[in-house]
């Protein structure tokens, strides 16, 4: 199993996409540090943009420099420090990077049918499943913490201590987010085992989350269901990750950790069951 993980490492460091991921991660960390606002790939976290627009209206200016400077002056010392936590709060961005990791390690192997080389003369299904899962989870965890460390380092260089909480606090915030992020990672592997196609996986993993959020928002507006409202306000992945990093509350944290663990276990069990039963073509 260790050899299989070593082989995956050998292959992943030879693919361009891992370097693209690191480049994007660094770029986002630099941009966030420079503009002193969390950058997001997804659309739902638009607080920062609203803040910018409000100040631009108040000041009647289109200059980003002027708006950012005004915004900075309006912030208290605590808010300035909390900015670093807000960046960690936008870690849903990492979902898109994890999508690529799962693709590179697992979906490509199944989609290209290279999996049969491993299963026919090297390993059995159980070892294959475990080694891929452990490798993906390790890579995702490493990526999540590297992102925190990258941002912490860059932010300290660009803005100094005034704009950052301690590294320990940032790592703690990241750790609280881990169950949800790893639950999502396990769910991505489930998509691969169900569809066994790289194209289907990419479509569902990338568009599915947007579709999911849209359907939830629509159902919330149409059905006025309190459970959906509560979910959207507190436990929808993007919101939950933000709250866990910026305003952690005991009850909310426990529910989020349980949600993450349940999603993780359910996905892993379903994936293994499907994989064990499936015919390798």
């Amino acid at each position: 199993m260790i050899n299989m993980m070593k082989a995956d490492l050998f292959r992943i460091i030879r693919s361009k996409s891992i370097y693209v991921i690191f480049a994007i991660m660094l770029t986002m960390a630099i941009i966030s540090a420079v503009i002193k606002m969390p950058g997001t790939i997804a659309t739902a976290n638009s607080d920062s943009m609203e803040e910018i627009n409000e100040i631009a209206d108040e000041e009647n200016t289109n200059s980003l420099d002027a708006v950012l400077s005004k915004l900075d002056s309006k912030r208290s010392d605590e808010q300035k420090k909390n900015f670093s936590l807000k960046v960690i709060g936008s870690n849903m961005n990492l979902y898109y990077f994890i999508v690529f990791i799962v693709y590179g390690v697992l979906a490509a192997d199944i989609s290209n049918k290279t999996i049969k080389n491993t299963l026919s003369s090297i390993s059995d299904k159980r070892k294959y499943f475990l080694s891929k899962l452990i490798f993906i989870l390790s890579a995702a965890t490493l990526l999540i913490f590297l992102n925190t460390l990258f941002f912490y380092g860059i932010n300290m260089i660009v803005n100094g201590e005034k704009y950052s909480v301690s590294l320990l606090r940032m790592l703690e915030a990241t750790l609280l987010q881990l169950p949800i992020l790893l639950g999502l990672t396990a769910f991505l592997t489930l998509i691969v085992y169900i569809f066994k196609s790289g194209a289907w996986y990419n479509s569902i993993a990338l568009l599915g989350i947007i579709l999911f959020q849209t359907i939830l928002s629509l159902s919330n507006s149409l059905l006025k269901c309190s459970a959906i409202t509560t979910y959207l306000k507190k436990y929808e992945a993007q919101v939950a990750l933000y709250k866990l990093a910026v305003h952690p509350e005991t009850y909310h944290t426990i529910v989020c950790i349980i949600m993450g663990i349940v999603m993780f276990l359910a996905s892993v069990i379903a994936s293994y069951y499907i994989f064990k039963k499936s015919e390798i073509k």
Partner: protein, 306 residues
């Protein structure tokens, strides 16, 4: 007694109502080059997939290296495989593709990669990306993958697809040399009997999931070879006469009524006269012998699998 490498017992595979394999019994001994012959969809690949664990059987069982399938452990590492089309990572070179699997197998001596690439004549283009390979080159890389790590059993599914005639001849020499020098056992499938005939020492004919015949190279030769067939009621007396009077030694007794003479030094009419003169009645005399393809067709009966 030869060591048994693969043994299947009533191996069956069903997909809903469709029977892909129907009670297959097959024994492959150490050092065999075992040819699996059948048309497309006959069940050749399914047998290989079950043996290599890519799919599960619906019934029956099999042994690998004398170990039951449900107790296999490290035995898988003794197998080299090329099942169906060769699949590798497009963005990696031939060398790096093999290196990836060498790491998976725990091979520490990477010079083995160079050796197998040399064996399949891909060493000069080892740094070319897999995506730029022709079908023949892909096939060669698949064979190199199967031969890496000195396997005891090599399973090759239609390995000569897309390979040019000179390449096929070179691969034939490689397979026979590996069997001779290292005692490697091969199971090779093909729908072209004439190709397998040149390397295999045993054959299994399969059609619609059923074994039609398991036969050695010598037996196949005997069945196909041009010969004169004599049917008589006294085989014992007839063979004595053929050997002593006519000095013919190249013959075979098929059963207690039939003798086949492969030598064409003496005309059939002369043999017939001699037999009759000595009181041996001949109930039938005719020339026989068919090509390999005719033999194959006679077995499968010309029906289609579609």
């Amino acid at each position: 007694m030869k060591e048994v490498i693969v043994k299947t017992n009533q191996l069956t595979k069903k997909y809903d109502d469709f029977v892909a394999l129907d009670n297959i019994n097959m024994t492959v001994n150490k050092g065999d080059i075992y040819g699996l012959i059948g048309r497309n969809g006959a069940g050749k690949t399914t047998i290989m997939k079950i043996i290599t664990g890519l799919t599960e059987s619906s019934g029956g069982d099999y042994e690998l290296f004398s170990k039951p399938s449900n107790k296999l452990g490290d035995e898988k590492g003794r197998i080299g495989c090329l099942i169906e089309n060769p699949a590798f990572f497009n963005n990696l070179s031939a060398y790096n593709n093999l290196k990836y699997y060498a790491i998976q197998k725990g091979i520490s001596d990477m010079s083995k990669i160079g050796e197998v690439l040399e064996m399949v004549k891909l060493k000069d283009i080892k740094d070319k990306k897999f995506r730029t390979f022709s079908l023949g080159m892909k096939q060669r890389l698949g064979i190199a993958f199967a031969l890496m790590d000195d396997p005891d059993l090599v399973i090759l599914d239609e390995p000569i697809n897309g390979i040019d005639p000179i390449g096929i001849s070179e691969l034939r020499d490689t397979f026979t040399r590996l069997t001779r020098e290292r005692g490697i056992t091969f199971i090779i499938s093909s729908h072209i009997l004439s190709e397998l005939y040149l390397i295999a020492n045993r054959f299994m004919f399969i059609d619609k999931g059923k074994v039609l015949k398991e036969i050695t190279h010598e037996e196949l030769d005997a069945e196909c070879m041009r010969c004169t067939v004599f049917r008589t009621n006294n085989v014992k007396k007839a063979t004595a006469l053929i050997e002593e009077r006519l000095n013919i030694h190249d013959y075979k007794v098929i059963d207690n009524t039939e003798i086949r003479i492969y030598s064409d030094d003496i005309a059939p009419a002369v043999i017939n006269t001699e037999l009759v003169k000595n009181g041996i009645s001949v109930s039938a005399l005719f020339e026989s012998g068919i090509t390999l393809e005719e033999y194959f067709k006679s077995l499968v009966g010309g029906s289609t699998n579609d």
